[in-house]
C-alpha cells in the first residue's frame, strides 16, 4: 500500500512521530480549550492570575454560567446570533438550490456559449469576495439595500466554487440516467429535483456546510453592509465588544464559544464529505 512507503521504518522514529502528533495537536487546540474553559470563569476571577504563572491561567477555580446568562441579558448578542443564523441558513437553502441548478445546466445541457459562461463562473470562483467589497458597497447602497437582510444574504449567494463542485458531480453521472427519465416523460425540473439532487447528496451536504460557514463567518462585508445594531452579525458584534469594552472578557469568552460551536458542529458532522469535496475541487 502506498500509505506505508513514506513511513520511516525504525521504532524510534515511530515514537518520535507519535510525540510530534500529540504535541502539535495539543498545541493547536490549547488556545481553544483555554477559550472554552475561560467562558465558565467567574468575573471576579477573570484577571486574578494575569500576573504570574499558575494553573489558574487555564483552568478556572470555580465554574459558573454567569458569562452566558449576562451575555444574553445585558448585551445585543442574542439579536446578533439570530441575525447570523437567519442569514446563514437562508443563504444555505437558497444557495444550494441555485448553484446546483446552474451546475446541472453546465453538466447536462448543451448550448452555445456554455464554455465561455463556465469560464466566467470559474473566474468568479477564483476572485476572493473581499476584493470587491468596496465597489459592492456602492452598488448595494445605490440599490437602497444597506442595512437590510437581503444586503447580507444576496450578494454572496451565487458561489462559483459550489457551481463547479455540482457540475463535476452531475457530469460524472451516466447520461443514460437523464435520458431514460426524459424518455419516460419527466420534465427537466423533475429530473433535477427527483433524480439528480437526491443522488448528489454528498455535494449537497458539502455545499450547504460551505455556504453556511462562509456566511456565518463573514466579517468584512457585514461590517460595512449592516452597520446598525438591529442587523449586526455575531462576528462583527464580537469584534465591536472587544474594541468598545476592552475588559469585558467574560462576554467575549462566552460569545466566542457559542459562535465557534455553531461553526464547528456542522463541520464535525459532515467533515468527511466536506474535506473530500474541498480537496477534489482544489487538486483534481
Amino acid at each position: 500500500m502506498s500509505s506505508s512507503t513514506l513511513a520511516p521504518p525504525s521504532g524510534l522514529t515511530l515514537v518520535a512521530r507519535r510525540i510530534a502528533l500529540w504535541g502539535l495537536s495539543i498545541a493547536v487546540l490549547l488556545p481553544l480549550l483555554w477559550l472554552v474553559l475561560s467562558s465558565f470563569r467567574a468575573p471576579s476571577e477573570m484577571f486574578f492570575h494575569a500576573g504570574r504563572f499558575a494553573w489558574g491561567l487555564v483552568v478556572p477555580e470555580q465554574l459558573t454560567f454567569e458569562n452566558y446568562t449576562s451575555l444574553f441579558k445585558t448585551t445585543n448578542y442574542g439579536r446578533a446570533l439570530f441575525n447570523s443564523l437567519f442569514v446563514a441558513v437562508t443563504a444555505m437553502f437558497c444557495g444550494v438550490i441555485l448553484n446546483a441548478a446552474a451546475g446541472f445546466a453546465f453538466a447536462v445541457f448543451e448550448f452555445p456559449g456554455r464554455n465561455w459562461l463556465f469560464a466566467f463562473v470559474l473566474a468568479a470562483a477564483m476572485m476572493p469576495f473581499e476584493g470587491i467589497v468596496i465597489p459592492l458597497y456602492l452598488l448595494v447602497d445605490a440599490m437602497g439595500m444597506i442595512d437590510t437582510y437581503p444586503a447580507l444574504i444576496v450578494p454572496d449567494l451565487a458561489n462559483g466554487f459550489v457551481i463547479f463542485m455540482f457540475r463535476q458531480f452531475f457530469a460524472a453521472l451516466p447520461r443514460e440516467l437523464y435520458e431514460a427519465a426524459r424518455v419516460d416523460g419527466a420534465s427537466w425540473g423533475t429530473i433535477f429535483w427527483r433524480v439528480a439532487m437526491p443522488l448528489s447528496f454528498p455535494v449537497v451536504l458539502t455545499g450547504s456546510v460551505m455556504i453556511f460557514l462562509h456566511q456565518f463567518e463573514a466579517f468584512f462585508w457585514p461590517l460595512v453592509a449592516a452597520p446598525s445594531a438591529e442587523r449586526t452579525v455575531v462576528q462583527v458584534a464580537i469584534a465591536q465588544t472587544m474594541s468598545m469594552e476592552g475588559t469585558a472578557w467574560g462576554h467575549l469568552f462566552s460569545s466566542m464559544t457559542i459562535a465557534s460551536l455553531v461553526a464547528l458542529v456542522p463541520f464535525l458532522i459532515f467533515q468527511k464529505y466536506y474535506i473530500r469535496s474541498n480537496v477534489m475541487t482544489g487538486i483534481k
Binding site: L6, L21, L98, I134, L138, A263, L268
Partner: protein, 319 residues
C-alpha cells in the same frame, strides 16, 4: 404526462408504448435538448447574481477610479488623478511593501509547515483521523474570531501568554504593541488558523503519488530523506504550487485581524493594502481613491487567478 413511474409502464402493451413515445418524439424531436426557456430557468438565477454582484462591482471599481467626489457628493471626471495621487503617496508604497513582506514571508512558511504536517499525518497510525481533525479544527474558526482570541491570549498585561513565557524564562513580550513583533505575530495567527487546512490539500496530493515509485526506490536502497528529495517533492510540485498560489490570493487581502487588533499600527507596522482601501472609503470617505486602490488590488488578484487557473487547467489536461 403520467408515465414517469417506470413500474406503471411495464403493464402497457408494446404497441401502445411505441405509439406514445412516437407522439412525444414527434412533438420535441430530441428529448435531450431542452428549450431555451428551461436552460434559462436553471442558469439565470446564478449567472445573474454573479454578473450583478461580481462583474458589476469590478466595473464600478474601474470606472469609479477615474472620478472624484467633492464634500457635497458631486462627482466629476478626474482622469488618472486618483492613481497619480496614490502613486505619489509615500505611505501607499509603505503599505505595498508591508503587504509584500507579509506575503513573501508568510506564504512559503505556511506551505512548508502544511507540507510538514501532511508528511507527518500521511501514513496510517492509531487515531490518525483524530490527529488530522485536531490540526484542521482551527480552520472552522473565523478569521475575525481568531484575531479576537489571539489578541486576548497575547494581551501583554492581562493575557495568559506572558506569564507562561516569563515562567519558562523567555520573558514578557509586547506582541501587537511592538513595531517589530506585530507583523510576525499576525503571520503566526494565520499559520495557526490555516496550516491544517492546506495540509488536507497536500495530503490528497501525497495519495496521488503512485506507490511503485517508492517501492523501486526502496529496492535501490534510497533512504527516507532521499525518497523525500528525489520522489516526493518533485511529484508534489503541482499541489505545492497550487497551495502557494491559493494561500497568497487569500492572504493578499488580509483584513479582519488588522481592523480588529492593530488598525495598521503600531506606527504603520501592519499597514496593508486591504485595510488602507477600507480606511480610504469608510474612514476618510475618499471614494475615488478607495476605488483606485480597489482596482489595483483587483489587478493583482487577476494575476493570481490566472496562475491558479493555469495550474488547475494543466492538471486536467494531464489526466
Amino acid at each position: 404526462m403520467t408515465i414517469s413511474h417506470p413500474a406503471s409502464t411495464t403493464g402497457v402493451s408494446p404497441t401502445l408504448r411505441t405509439k406514445r413515445r412516437g407522439r412525444r418524439l414527434a412533438r420535441d424531436f430530441n428529448p435531450m435538448a431542452p428549450t431555451w426557456g428551461v436552460i434559462a430557468i436553471f442558469l439565470v438565477p446564478a449567472i445573474a447574481l454573479l454578473v450583478i454582484f461580481r462583474a458589476v462591482p469590478v466595473v464600478i471599481s474601474i470606472v469609479g477610479s477615474f472620478f472624484r467626489q467633492n464634500l457635497m457628493g458631486e462627482r466629476s471626471f478626474y482622469g488618472l488623478g486618483n492613481y497619480e495621487t496614490i502613486f505619489a503617496d509615500e505611505s501607499f508604497w509603505h503599505s505595498v511593501l508591508t503587504t509584500l513582506k507579509f506575503n513573501l514571508i508568510l506564504n512559503p512558511i505556511l506551505v512548508c509547515i502544511a507540507f510538514g504536517l501532511a508528511l507527518l499525518t500521511f501514513s496510517p497510525t492509531r487515531g490518525i483521523g483524530l490527529f488530522r481533525s485536531a490540526l484542521f479544527i482551527p480552520m472552522t474558526f473565523s478569521t475575525s474570531l481568531a484575531a479576537v482570541l489571539w489578541s486576548l491570549i497575547l494581551d501583554p498585561n492581562l493575557g495568559p501568554a506572558n506569564p507562561i513565557l516569563a515562567a519558562i524564562g523567555i520573558g514578557r513580550q509586547p506582541f501587537f504593541l511592538s513595531e517589530t513583533q506585530a507583523l510576525p505575530t499576525m503571520m503566526a495567527i494565520v499559520v495557526w488558523k490555516s496550516a491544517g487546512y492546506w495540509m488536507i490539500f497536500l495530503l490528497a496530493g501525497l495519495y496521488r503519488i503512485p506507490a511503485d515509485i517508492y517501492e523501486a526506490a526502496e529496492i535501490d536502497g534510497a533512504n527516507w530523506l532521499q525518497r523525500l528529495r528525489y520522489i516526493t517533492i518533485p511529484q508534489m510540485r503541482r499541489p505545492l504550487a497550487f497551495v502557494l498560489v491559493a494561500t497568497t490570493s487569500v492572504n493578499f487581502l488580509f483584513f479582519a485581524p488588522i481592523y480588529i487588533i492593530t488598525k495598521g499600527g503600531p506606527n504603520g507596522a501592519t499597514d496593508m493594502l486591504m485595510f488602507r482601501t477600507y480606511e480610504s472609503a469608510f474612514v476618510f470617505i475618499n471614494w475615488g481613491r478607495a476605488l483606485a486602490l480597489s482596482t489595483v488590488l483587483l489587478l493583482i488578484i487577476c494575476v493570481f487567478a490566472a496562475i491558479q487557473l493555469r495550474l488547475l487547467g494543466s492538471r486536467e489536461g494531464e489526466d
